[in-house]
Symmetry: C2
Subunit: 196 residues, 2 copies
DNA sequence: GGGCACATGTAAGCTGTTACATGATTAA
DNA sequence: TTAATCATGTAACAGCTTACATGTGCCC
């Protein structure tokens, strides 16, 4: 009954805040939903066309000029509430970092440390970005502020957890016996040689 | 130069631990990589065929019986190290929960609370599962144990962060003025009526 | 008049899941 | 013998990204 529910939800949600062009929509999604959501043009424009077709959004000022803004309709608002009420489906996890770490002995502690340091840096950066968003939200507060702060807080909790984990993990990696390129077990002090 | 690197990495990694059938591979990935990785049959079998074609894995005992185990070759081990050494690409975030919360005013605090409680329950469950895995790892410890524990710890940090956030958020939601199905601002005590 | 930001859309292609078709082996 | 589990593979399709093609409007 509904192809591309996810994108529709995000787009309708953004339009529920204010009418926008597709281009502005993408900027809005990147800038304000960016820390937990993303949409590309390839998703946005077809979604807008579909919303228009279903009468959930209307195109305004399209007339021969290049740009047209879309506004949500009452039916669109109803649909948005419907979509929001459906249970969020947790997406299957896929962490390239943890995959590399799991098989980290193949790589050696040094390379692993490099990866973890990168992750740590990303977390720190995200924390800084979220602090800015938080300030902005508090500055021009509106009726949605409380809800939006919850999403910011989620990002902060997650980033702080990443920081803590990274520090713990860097310490653990530092304590590990260095590199073993031949795939043999690190062995406390007596290197073994097996493997064909 | 390489289609489906991600799946190849996971499959080669699993095969580097021990030879397996495609079916067992999926079980292994689900059970031991499950908290941060997933692969479906539709990925695994084509990947195995590709690995065989490239000489990175060999099929053993395929002869007319239904089942064949795959073993990693030296070239496969080399390829695995190569793949592991590439930088993990952070996937674009997509949290259905946070999307719903961001537009939570459309739903009302009660529905939001339900979602957050579900997330909290999932986090608690994951924490319990990770505790089991941790015990297993410590019980039959091997040369990879330290690395694997790091991935477990990542899951634990993340789950604890989710718990903390959920509790904080539930409290915030409880403090919010109830439901406003018409989309008007919640307004401290004088409900407004606008909107067509 | 040259470049940049705004703007719209499509096509190709990759990644991944689901469902299906098929069959062997084993335990109740 | 029948059900469950083990096992292999494919086809269809959903979702998403990237790159491209195209054009406008404005400022320097």
């Amino acid at each position: 009954m509904a192809r591309n529910d996810q994108s529709q939800t995000a787009v309708l949600g953004a339009l529920s805040v204010s009418p926008m062009t597709g281009y502005a929509l993408r900027a809005a999604i990147r800038d304000t939903l960016g820390h937990f959501w993303s949409e590309s043009f390839g998703q946005i424009y077809p979604t807008l066309a579909e919303l228009e077709r279903q009468g959930l959004a209307v195109r305004q000022g399209a007339e021969r000029t290049g740009s047209s803004t879309f506004a949500i309709t009452p039916a669109g608002t109803a649909r948005l509430r419907e979509l929001l009420a459906t249970a969020p489906q947790p997406s299957p996890p896929r962490s390239g970092l943890l995959l590399r770490l799991f098989f980290g002995r193949q790589l050696g502690p040094e390379s692993c440390q490099a990866f973890v340091r990168q992750a740590r840096a990303r977390a720190e950066q995200q924390l800084a970005q979220l602090a800015v968003i938080r300030q902005e939200l508090l500055h021009d507060a509106g009726s949605d502020t409380a809800y939006r702060l919850m999403t910011v807080s989620a990002g902060e909790h997650s980033a702080r957890a990443a920081l803590d984990w990274a520090d713990e993990t860097l310490a653990a990696l530092a304590a590990l016996p260095s590199h073993d390129a031949d795939g043999s077990p690190p062995a406390t002090s007596h290197p073994t040689e097996e493997n064909p």
